[in-house]
């Protein structure tokens, strides 16, 4: 005997199954086949096996099992658009629900069948292969439609096989269908909602259009439409003007707005468009959520509202070759309309102003007045919120930062908020100020009646020069007796630049017409930043202060604060107070000369700090007396200096001016400050402007701790600023040469003896 092949076994089993017609045996076979095909991922063949199972269940009156299976496979045919197969299954489902007395499901399946895209009437009435609903045709759709609506309108009774009774819709047994965004009943009723605008002010009306369409084969007349929004106070009803029994519809909607439409008839495949005005007094999103269509007193269809912009195609109908109409006449709304609108905040009628007084200066308490003025609204429960934000996005000064601030990290900080009448008994400061942080402040605004105003001042400190954005927000209630209304908000922002007021630059110089030989300068490793100074000599410190801001500033005083005791260095003047404050316009530079005499030999002498006291020149003259309490101080650390004893010191001495033809004496003194004999070579270069007498060149030896003086008699030959004959001094020991600078070797020659009348008057006195 040869074993059976698979084909032969399958044929044998089919033949046996057909011979015995045992439904449960057949069901078992189909179930095994379904499992086998499911394992092979053959979804459609597996569905067909289940379909056959369900038919067998149906034939043996196991309607619950049959319905469960038919329900599952119906989705496959819906998704892939196999209409005839779906028609057949829906027919079976209809009968199953009739058998198990599930009226709601019966109506749903009936309506879905009636709305299938079957337009042909060509069928063979004797055909038996279309399921219990009969052949798929337009007339059969209409028949099912009428049957379903007869039941829902209470005109006919639905015979229920399970308990052998009839079902009739009445007030005790109403029918309510729900259609969501994925329901197959979207073909029965599709509701699109589009607001004509995207935003609207509260209390201002906007137009909204409702577009309804049905794919049912027969026109349906709606008695009433109820439109529901997320803001329930906007809900309203549209009644059918042609229906006399609309008012008999029981609804707990008393007090609702009621509109009347001339007719509410949904023609097959045609959009019914209704446009109305809608007004909302509540800010936020206003969204149409549901549209409930009532057909008769006991039948309602609740349809989830959809936006035209996000409407998905109807399954099955999207494959049909037919003309598609747009839901709204306005093409832009038809493709981008939304079922929600944003209700903006009410237009505030309060003026919030920030009175900036120019850029802020580092180190200064910047005072910014904030004024709240009522221009139509009263102010109740007002709150002023202040935010400081970095414009460049770095070091964001936000109250959300978790880490605690340190003084070094705070570039800009809100110091305080104060206002007039702070000491009034009615409101204490602590009641008003809710929160003050370096970058955030929150204070309460007192109640204001219409026309009143209130102001406060923000004190902000800039520790570093950087721009910030200041955001000030006022929120208030316009009315005191309607707390449910939204708060009104006013926002103002201001960019404030933070700048350094003064840039201070110090410069050390040798005494005029004196040049000490500083050995550190001769070394190869000389550091130019390591400023050398001569010990016990009067060195010059020139401090320049430049106004880098955009506003005029008053210079009040300048001083040098030495570190440690004053024995290390003598500075003169130590402090200078300007009796008349010096006003500097932007860009102007002030220079002050100090004499610095270091007293200790120190390679790194700390010179202390330059302190500049100043204030903004924005005060009226009568407030000048108060500047002492509101001045700012800018400090700069002076660079460390290298103090050393110069072995040699060369100085030039000659009168401040000369007279043409009159001789004068020109001294060149060389001081030896060492314990060693110093060999010095000198030369004198002739000048055409002078006749000179004295040694032109020689080598001299200077004893320790003594000085040698070179004396020249000069007679000027020309008048005006003349360059003296150049003297060069060279130290043999240190291989260093000295030549006076051109500036220090200039003398003014008068053509004749000058007469100074002022001096003469003083002399006479």
């Amino acid at each position: 005997m040869q074993p059976l092949t698979d084909d032969e076994y399958a044929r044998y089993m089919l033949a046996e199954g057909k011979r015995f017609q045992d439904s449960f045996e057949i069901i078992a076979l189909f179930k095994r086949a379904f499992e086998a095909y499911s394992n092979l991922k053959s979804e459609r063949t597996a569905a067909y096996c289940r379909f056959q199972m369900a038919r067998e269940y149906f034939s043996v009156c196991e309607f619950h099992n049959a319905k469960e299976i038919f329900d599952k496979i119906a989705n496959l045919y819906r998704q892939e658009g196999w209409i005839l197969s779906l028609w057949e299954i829906l027919g079976y489902l209809r009968e199953c629900t009739r058998e198990i007395s599930c009226v709601k499901d019966f109506i749903e399946y009936s309506l879905e069948m009636a709305a299938l895209p079957i337009t042909s009437n060509a069928f063979d009435p004797s055909s038996k292969d279309y399921g219990p609903a009969g052949p798929a045709s337009l007339s059969q759709r209409a028949k099912i439609h009428k049957e379903a609506f007869g039941v829902v309108n209470g005109e006919s009774e639905l015979s229920l096989k399970e308990d052998n009774s009839g079902y009739k819709v009445n007030s005790h047994l109403p029918l309510y269908l729900e259609i969501d965004l994925v329901s197959p009943l979207r073909v029965v009723l599709l509701a699109l909602v589009a607001f004509h605008e995207q935003t609207v002010k509260p209390g201002v009306s906007s137009l909204i259009t409702f577009s309804l369409r049905s794919r049912l084969p027969i026109n349906i007349e709606i008695d009433q439409l109820e439109v529901q929004f997320n803001q329930s106070e906007c809900n309203f009803i549209i009644e059918n003007g042609q229906k006399s029994n609309a008012s008999t519809i029981p609804c707990c909607l008393s007090g609702r707005r009621v509109e009347t439409a001339p007719a509410l008839v949904l023609a097959t495949n045609k959009w019914m468009r209704l446009t109305y005005e809608i007004t909302s007094g509540q800010t936020g999103k206003l969204e149409c959520t549901y549209i409930i269509a009532r057909m008769g007193p006991q039948f309602s269809i609740c349809c989830r509202a959809e936006s035209p912009a996000s409407m998905t195609d109807l399954p099955l109908w999207k494959f049909e070759d037919q003309v598609e109409t747009i839901p709204l006449k306005d093409p832009s709304l038809a493709f981008s309309g939304q079922k929600a609108i944003q209700v903006e905040e009410p237009e505030p009628q309060v003026d919030l102003s920030l009175c900036s007084c120019g850029p802020a200066l580092v180190g200064e308490n910047y005072i910014l007045p904030v004024k709240v003025a009522s221009k139509g609204h009263a102010v109740y429960s007002g709150e002023l919120k202040i935010n400081l934000v970095d414009t460049r996005g770095s070091d964001l000064l936000s109250p959300r930062e978790v880490e605690p601030f340190s003084a070094d990290n705070l570039h800009v900080e809100l110091m305080d908020i104060y206002w007039d009448g702070l000491d009034d008994h009615s409101d204490s400061r602590s009641d008003k100020i809710q929160k003050i942080q370096p970058s955030f402040g929150l204070i309460s605004v007192p109640s204001l009646v219409e026309g009143e105003s209130w102001s406060c001042k923000l004190k902000i400190m800039w520790n570093r020069p950087k721009p910030i954005m200041l955001y000030v927000s006022l929120s208030y209630y316009p009315h005191n007796d309607e707390p449910s209304l939204q708060k009104a908000h006013v926002h103002k922002s201001l960019e404030i630049e933070g700048k350094i007021a003064f840039t201070i630059s110090p410069r050390f110089m040798m005494p005029f017409r004196k040049d000490p030989l500083l050995l550190s300068k001769l070394k190869a490793a000389y550091d130019p930043e390591h400023i050398p100074l001569a010990l016990n000599e009067s060195n010059m410190l020139i401090v320049s202060a430049k106004n880098c801001s955009e506003v005029p500033l008053r210079l009040l005083s300048i001083s040098i604060e030495l570190r440690g005791n004053n024995d290390t260095c003598i500075v003169h003047p130590h402090h200078e107070e300007f009796t008349e404050p010096i006003i500097h316009v932007p860009g102007e530079e002030f220079k002050k000369v100090f004499t610095v005499i270091p007293k200790v030999n120190n390679s790194q002498l700390n010179m202390g700090m330059v302190c500049l006291r100043w204030q903004r020149d924005s005060r009226p003259p009568d407030e000048v007396h108060s500047w002492a309490t509101v001045s700012q101080v800018t400090k700069l650390k002076l660079p460390d200096v290298n103090v050393e004893l110069p072995p040699l010191l060369v100085s030039l001495e000659f009168p401040p001016h000369a007279i043409l033809g009159n001789p004068f004496v020109f001294y060149v003194k060389v001081h030896n400050q060492t314990e060693l004999l110093q060999e010095i070579k000198f030369t004198l270069a002739d000048s055409q402007s002078f006749v000179s007498s004295g040694p032109h060149s020689d080598t001299i030896y200077i004893l320790p701790r003594s000085a040698h003086v070179l004396r020249y008699m000069l007679v000027p030959l020309c008048s005006g600023s003349q360059q003296l004959p150049r003297v060069s001094v060279t130290s043999v020991r240190y291989s260093a040469g000295f030549q006076p600078s051109a500036v220090s070797s200039v003398i003014f020659v008068y053509p004749a003896k000058p007469t100074f009348k002022v001096n003469e008057k003083k002399e006479r006195q």
Partner: protein, 143 residues
């Protein structure tokens, strides 16, 4: 004898389905065509199990049933042609020839500027051409 031809879109939705039988098995043929899509998916996703030539559009015999044979054809745009015949000894060449002519008729139908791609073919001219091709197939097979 060809009893059913179908054009199925790339979403596995029927674009055109025509039965050539007087019996009451139109629905049954719908199911047969629908189930054959599983075989087409398998052939497309597992090319090693298919015909030796990978670029072959003719899918050949999809599956035989008790009374029918089902043949498939896949276009470059992933549209499937399904042929259901009662002839049990059809030559491969005849079926290929049929699909080639059917494909030409399909291309002409979708080239109609009023045809919307993805929607069902409702052209009567296409239906007539299909009927002609089906009739000539039966004639050539018998000859």
């Amino acid at each position: 004898m060809i009893v059913c031809v179908a054009v199925v879109g790339h979403q596995n939705n029927p674009l055109y389905i025509q039965s050539f039988t007087d019996a009451d098995d139109e629905l049954k043929l719908h199911h047969i065509v629908h189930c054959s899509l599983d075989v087409v998916d398998e052939r497309v996703n597992n090319p090693k199990k298919a015909a030796p030539t990978l670029n072959e559009t003719f899918l050949g015999l999809l599956y035989p049933t008790e009374n029918y044979k089902v043949y498939g054809y896949l276009t470059n745009t992933k549209v499937k042609f399904i042929l259901v015949t009662t002839d049990l000894d059809v030559r491969d060449a005849d079926v290929r020839n049929f699909f080639r002519r059917f494909h030409t008729a399909y291309v002409d139908a979708v080239s109609n500027p009023f045809h919307v791609p993805g929607k069902k073919i409702t052209s009567k001219i296409f239906a007539e051409r299909v009927s002609t091709i089906v009739k000539s197939f039966g004639t050539s097979a018998a000859g």
